[in-house]
Amino acid sequence: MTSQIAARATGSPIINLSVFFVFVLITLFIVYKVTNRNSTTSDYYAAGSAFSGVQNGIALSGDFLSAASFLGISGAIAVHGYDGFLYSVGWLVAWLVALLLVGERLRNTGRFTVGDVMAYRMKQRPVRAAAANATLVITFFYMLAQMAGAGGLIALLLNVHSKSGQALIITGVGLVMVFYVLVGGMKGTTWVQIIKAGMLLICVTFMSVFLIGKFGFSFSAILGQAAQNSPLGGDLLNPGGWYGSNAMDQLDFVSLSLSLVLGISSLPHVLMRFYTVPDAKEARRSVVWCSWSMFIFYLSILIVGYGATALVGSDTIVNAPGGENSAAPLLAFKIGGAMLLGIVSAVAFATILAVVAGLTLAASASFAHDVYANVIRRGKADPRSEIRVARLTALVMGFLAIIGGIVTNGQNVAFLVSLALALAASANLPTILYTLFWRRFNTTGTLWSIYGGLGSGLVLIIFSPAISGSSTSVFKGVDFHWFPLTNPGLVSIPLSFLCGFLGTILSKHPSDPKKQAEMEVRSLTGIGTRT
């Protein structure tokens, strides 16, 4: 029965594929149209800062409406119920950090990368190198999650069950994505994000309105039906469906929540988006727009998630190729047949493509601008060679993403993303907040907080049950874990704040008051900001 539905759901790979290819062709055409050769670094990294707040707000939500939010969260809600819902609450609230604390100040101080802001009033080379290291590690983790999502989706969509077949298609996805970045730069990538975010929002809104209508405009009725169709029964709607109720699980849940809310505004590819608008006011408008689309999206995804359980059933979802991640596509097939499945899958694919392209761009900007131009060439690289290095880095990142996607194929993507968020929140957020708002903060403090957060986060992840020693870990059959929590945020985020504080206090080199004045005035007023 289960496999029948799965087989029927993937019964028309032709339609799925053609909808997908039409989308790719349209976006490629747009990328080609909007791109005027990306001749300067500002064009390539920041689209010449020429996007409006509204455009960038939609692109910003597009950057965040990744495979993790769409496939991962709808799947998590469908299978685990309430605990999956917690993800969406965390990811909505998280935008307040970007709005109140980070966004506008970042736009005013930086130019292309996170390293610009972190190194503004510090010693350039060590801080830029540290910032680039953090960016590359965080981006890599985040990318793994997206590629894993691609694998799951392909499994469902094309009914490709063999690992080698899926690997082949992940490679294809990776290649198209690298192409976007190489040709389109920030402008092309942003346009792809805008189109995709618009389509995704329309898609989930349509699905949720349809569901609500089907259940007589009663949210309660959907929940009731979902509870009946889940092995968890009534507990689907209650806390504890995913994370259990022993003390460690509860602590893990808190740790996860903290990473979710603090992680988003520290992701390099999200931060980089603030540079594509001309000034701080537009940066603020983008976050406001982004918050609205997030609001609509996560409300809809709540209904889509429970609706998937209500109509398709948890068992069918878990047993489908692609597992949990296939909840939304299966629901689409149930309510709209092969055509809607094709559209939803194409949108999901596009999501992965666009987000991975954004990530690749962030990573290559960080390497080319921070490491190559400022650390290796000490600021004496000419823009053309910088862009060439950026494109080369994009190739390497694309290659790594393909390998990583093949290895992590099958993991829950929302969970994988939470690890990247924990790293981002530990390595970037304390450093950015300190450098913007604390006068005494100095180079030593910066290095301590970046490496303290990044290092502790990495070590705790490696020795956590996420990697080894439990039935759901990445490496099965070996057990070298000693850290009890799957998410390191609860320890590594405060530790990074502490490291930054101690490094600053204990350092013998005080901060540079002149540069501090420049940075503070600039971050609050935008005086001196080039656009």
Binding site: T41, Y82, D83, F85, L86, V89, G90, L92, V93, W95, L96, V97, L99, L101, R111, D116, Q124, S218, F219, S220, A221, L223, G224, A227, L237, N238, P239, Y243, Q250, F253, V254, S257, V261, D279, R284, V288, S291, W292, F295, A373, N374, R378, G379, K380, A381, D382, P383, E386, P513, A517, E518, E520, V521, R522, L524, T525, G526, I527, G528, R530
Partner: protein
């Protein structure tokens, strides 16, 4: 200290074309940032900003963590039904949606009324003008 010092009307800050931050060093044509930082107008701006964003951030973080801690540690309370199949936990979560969007709108209004005009004033005083 030197509160009376007004930021001098400096040239608009057009840096030499080039490579980004690594070539900072020559301050020719730069506004006097330290004087601006010390000016009463800037101090007002900083105070307005910090007195809004920090308490607000503290508030939404605490409010969110309350939701999380209840979800983690008081399953019984969060599982009580409000109406139909909707329980307190789901209601609480949706309430987070409402507060988030409210804070977004309140901040937008505050920034528009209290921060932006002050920024413009400082731009004028520094002789940089609006872009």
């Amino acid at each position: 200290m030197n509160k009376s010092v007004r930021p001098p009307a400096a040239m608009p800050s057009e840096r030499a074309t080039g490579l980004g931050f690594a070539d900072r060093g020559d301050d020719i044509g730069e506004p006097d940032f330290q004087a601006i930082q010390q000016s009463p107008e800037f101090k007002v701006l900083r105070k307005r900003l910090l007195w809004f964003v920090f308490p607000m951030s503290a508030f939404f973080l605490c409010w969110y963590m309350t939701f999380v801690l209840f979800s983690a540690y008081d399953h019984e309370f969060m599982s009580r039904k409000l109406f139909g199949a909707v329980n307190i936990g789901t209601g609480f979560g949706l309430l987070q949606f409402v507060t988030t969007i409210t804070i977004v709108l309140v901040y937008r209004r505050y920034a528009h009324k209290k921060l932006d005009p002050q920024v413009d004033r400082i731009h004028e005083l520094a002789g940089v003008g609006k872009k």
